[in-house]
């Protein structure tokens, strides 16, 4: 038999173990292919230049996907090698030299890769239609995206995955050709020695995880890159140490307290868990980290939607807004609106001045400046939820002081910071969050007393470079969610060019971006989920193979089927419960940090997205659990 035939034979023989692995890879490849097809899809290009952010999202997700798949393939690769060390040992024993065996295994790896790639591309193309349908459904894509078979995407997908598979094959080749016969033959014995309890490592693990948590608080306030690297590294390392030490301590404790051990089927499950912990803890740690990442990202994706919904009210209080003091323009706008199916609910006009704080020399930092009387008038008519609160926070504003109204892009003033407004000294008492002029102005609006406003106005008119007083117009129409048509007509008025803000346009754009984030996140989540499942499946199936003999003995000694099922349930259950539990704790901490950061800007609770994503994960996990338990029982009984 030549190497290729042998490899083919091996793949066929081990298809049971490979099955899940192939499914996850095929799915990942199909998703990757479709992401890139979307990036190259001309119908997205033509629709809107603003779609750039959508492409960036897809692109970033693809990169995450590639890294994850790389990890996954290398992981399963080393898993299979470990599984089959004895097989390799027997070949070596029969006089086949290491490099020849390594070639067989490398060919196997490439065979698996090619099969997954071809299937992945095939299914990717077949299901592109469904993929696009999901995109329009989930991402609420208004623009139609047509089916597009992208040769570029096929090439990129193939190249990327062939590279990954070659890397895995090469690593397998190196590992095998360097291994020693005695280690190969004794592989199983080495693996199954009992884990020593290491209290010091346990303490280290806790310290590392706490360090990670401590630095996670700094991610958003201090240097993002350094802090997030510290967090990621210390959490990952801490988790591995935690599982290697803490778990062994717990299991040893259970093994030694005979009251727990000698109670029904516990003796079987605990012994089996303890037996394999030395090898399994790494898998459990990996899964914990994947679970934590997935839940946190789902929570984060949800929070974007949440955040947008609460920003929307403040950032886009008007259906349309523009700046014009020309009554003919106003008349045209009103005409256009009245000829549409929308009615004007509110129309607000206010004078404002512009103040360049000059903090940045590259470009002007133009703060709009308005009178407190105008501020009160606008707040009253906009009917904000916390209207009273907003007005009272401005109440009793005295000359020489000001209130700043926050804009989304401005880091804001410090409290009691004194501004020199073209010669007028104004102390900014505080910064508040309220709907006012909307997101068309990048920088904080300064609210002055009517008196100060007039003084500042004089200063502006004295200063040649300063902008003069302008009139801001904001209109709220009925049924604004549906006003895209009208918005387009208004934008066509020549005077409003570059001077027109539309709620519906921004909403659509945001919704699409958020939709794509959710969409990409969902697929990423499914890929993560599938691969966790397949890692779990591989692990448990190999456990089952190892435990077959033990359960045979137990059946002979007279354990009933229901006892067998109970023992297996507990044994398998631990592999699911621990990562989910610890992963959930991590995710809770992570989302807590995110919430703390967001709460500085807006009142939102991320508890709901956290609970929802955790519940979804748990439900799917329970399904996997029941499935693998069933399968495990079947395997040890067969």
């Amino acid at each position: 038999m030549d190497s290729f035939k042998l490899a083919l034979f091996n793949v066929k023989n081990n298809i049971k173990l490979f099955k899940f692995n192939i499914i996850s890879m095929v799915f990942a490849i199909a998703v990757f292919f479709n992401f890139f097809s979307l990036i190259f899809n001309p119908s997205i290009d033509l629709a809107n230049t603003d779609k750039q952010s959508i492409k960036v999202t897809l692109y970033m997700t693809s990169i995450v996907l590639v890294f994850f798949i790389l990890f996954f393939i290398l992981y399963s690769n080393s898993f299979f090698l470990k599984q089959r060390k004895k097989e390799i040992g027997i070949y070596t024993f029969m006089g086949v030299d290491n490099s020849k065996i390594a070639v067989v295994f490398a060919i196997e790896e490439i065979l698996l890769g090619v099969v997954s790639l071809v299937l992945g591309l095939f299914f990717g193309m077949v299901f592109q239609k469904a993929f696009l349908m999901l995109l329009t459904k989930i991402a609420a894509f208004k623009s139609s995206v047509t089916f597009y078979l992208s040769i570029k995407s096929v090439i990129i997908t193939s190249v990327v995955f062939i590279l990954i598979f070659s890397l895995a094959a090469m690593r397998g080749f190196m590992t095998i050709s360097r291994s020693k016969l005695i280690n190969l033959l004794n592989a199983e014995k080495q693996e199954d020695k009992l884990l020593k309890t290491r209290y010091f490592t346990g303490i280290m693990a806790i310290v590392l995880i706490l360090t990670g948590y401590f630095f996670s608080g700094k991610i958003f306030t201090e240097d993002f890159f350094t802090n997030s690297s510290i967090v990621i590294l210390s959490i990952i390392l801490g988790t591995f140490l935690l599982f290697s030490s803490f778990l062994s301590v717990v299991v040893k404790f259970m093994k030694n307290s005979k009251g727990i051990l000698y109670s029904g089927t516990n003796i079987i499950s605990i012994s089996n868990i303890a037996y394999r912990i030395r090898y399994n803890y790494r898998t459990l740690a990996c899964i914990t980290i994947i679970v934590a990442t997935t839940i946190t990202s789902i929570g984060a994706a949800f929070s974007v939607q949440h955040m947008f919904n609460s920003i929307k009210r403040v950032a886009y209080p008007y259906s349309f807004s523009y700046v014009s003091s020309d009554s003919r323009v106003n008349a045209r706008v009103l005409d256009t609106i009245s000829s549409s199916k929308h009615k004007i609910l509110q129309s607000i006009e206010t004078n404002y001045l512009t103040f360049d704080s000059g903090d940045n020399r590259e470009f002007p930092m133009n703060h709009p400046v308005i009178k407190v009387s105008d501020f009160n008038r606008i707040t009253n008519s906009l009917k904000a939820e916390n209207k009273e609160e907003i007005i009272s926070s401005v109440g009793g504003l005295q000359d020489g002081t000001a209130i700043a109204v926050e804009s989304s892009n401005d880091s804001g003033f410090q409290n009691n910071q004194t501004l020199n407004m073209y010669g007028l000294n104004i102390k900014v008492k505080k910064t508040i969050n309220a709907p006012l002029l909307g997101g068309r102005f990048q920088f904080n609006t300064i609210v002055l007393t009517d008196n100060d406003y007039n003084k500042f106005k004089d200063n502006c008119y004295k200063l040649e470079t300063a902008e003069k007083e302008k009139i801001f117009n904001g209109i709220v129409v009925s049924n604004q969610e549906d006003s895209l048509e009208l918005s387009k007509k208004l934008a066509a008025i020549p005077e409003l060019k570059d001077n027109f803000t539309s709620y519906v346009v921004y909403c659509n754009l945001f919704n699409e971006v958020i939709g794509v984030v959710k969409f990409a996140g969902m697929f990423l989540g499914v890929v993560f989920m599938l691969s966790t499942a397949s890692i779990m499946y591989m692990k448990l199936m190999s456990d089952a193979i190892g435990d077959k003999k033990k359960y045979e003995i137990l059946m002979k000694l007279g354990i009933s089927e229901s006892e067998l099922y109970r023992a297996v349930s507990k044994q398998v259950g631990l592999s699911y419960t621990l990562p989910l539990l610890i992963g959930a704790v991590y995710a809770f901490m992570g989302i807590g940090v995110l919430q703390k950061f967001l709460n500085k800007y807006l009142e939102i609770s991320l508890l709901k997205p956290f609970v929802v994503s955790l519940s979804i994960y748990t439900i799917i996990y329970i399904c996997f659990y029941l499935l693998t338990t069933r399968k495990f029982v079947d395997m040890v009984k067969a």
Partner: protein
């Protein structure tokens, strides 16, 4: 004396119809309480099949087995494993110890499954392990023991539930002669001291000579019995000649 096991025309066939192989062709025998019975015969004579049937691991094709007066065919599958655990102890040729459990846990296993309080388990384990001379090995794992020690651990595990019958399937098969003698003495002592019924399958004449009575199986049928009325040495000689006659194809034996 009461009979603990009675079989009536016990038959077992393997395979599909047409290519059937009859492993047992109608076996009738009884085992008294407190007996140490040996079952001998060449490979393929149906020894292990017989043992599997009367120990309820396998089901007969036809015939009847009475265990302590109860018809085993009438116990349903669900209760069978419980019945086995409570009434029968097993000693196997390849020990069948669980290598992920310490000696102590291995011996405790049947009691733990029965949810006996752990203090009582501990007491019984200590008592039985000193009987088998393995009290210093309790914390060790099977892979740290010699074959003889392992088999004594297995015997201790079989005995700990105080079963009505202990089935031993070639218990000395993998042992050297010294360990084998030690184990067989243990079994004899167990039989005499606790009045435990032991049924031992073996093809080793030396091992069989420790039994009080020996059945000879050949080709799925009982072909001879040796009853105890002599010293072990004499019995050994009689077994050898019996085997020689069986191997020689003569079917008349020494009744």
């Amino acid at each position: 004396m009461d009979n603990i096991i009675e079989t009536y025309d016990l038959k077992k066939a393997y395979g599909e119809r047409g290519v059937q192989f009859n492993a047992l062709k109608g076996i009738n025998f009884t085992v008294e309480k407190g007996e140490f019975l040996g079952v001998m015969g060449p490979s393929g004579s149906g020894k292990t099949t017989l043992l599997n049937l009367i120990s309820t691991i396998d089901k007969q094709t036809s015939g009847k087995i009475l265990f302590d007066g109860k018809d085993m065919g009438k116990i349903n599958n669900k209760d069978l494993s419980r019945f086995r655990r409570d009434n029968i102890g097993f000693i196997f040729q390849d020990y069948n110890l669980l290598d992920n459990m310490s000696v102590e846990d291995n011996i405790s296993l049947p009691l733990a499954l029965n949810k006996v309080p752990h203090r009582e388990i501990k007491e019984r384990v200590n008592k039985i392990s000193s009987f088998f001379g393995i009290e210093t090995q309790l914390k060790k794992y099977p892979y740290q023991l010699s074959g003889g020690q392992k088999q004594r651990v297995a015997a201790a595990r079989a005995l700990i539930t105080s079963p009505k019958v202990i089935f031993a399937d070639e218990p000395t098969g993998a042992l050297d002669s010294k360990s084998a003698t030690e184990l067989l003495s243990c079994l004899t002592e167990m039989n005499e001291k606790f009045n435990t019924t032991i049924i031992m399958v073996t093809h080793d004449a030396f091992a069989a000579s420790f039994c009080k009575r020996v059945l000879f199986l050949s080709d799925g049928q009982i072909h001879g019995k040796l009853n105890p009325n002599s010293s072990r040495k004499e019995l050994y000689q009689r077994i050898l000649s019996m085997m020689a006659s069986l191997g020689g194809g003569e079917q008349n034996g020494l009744f």
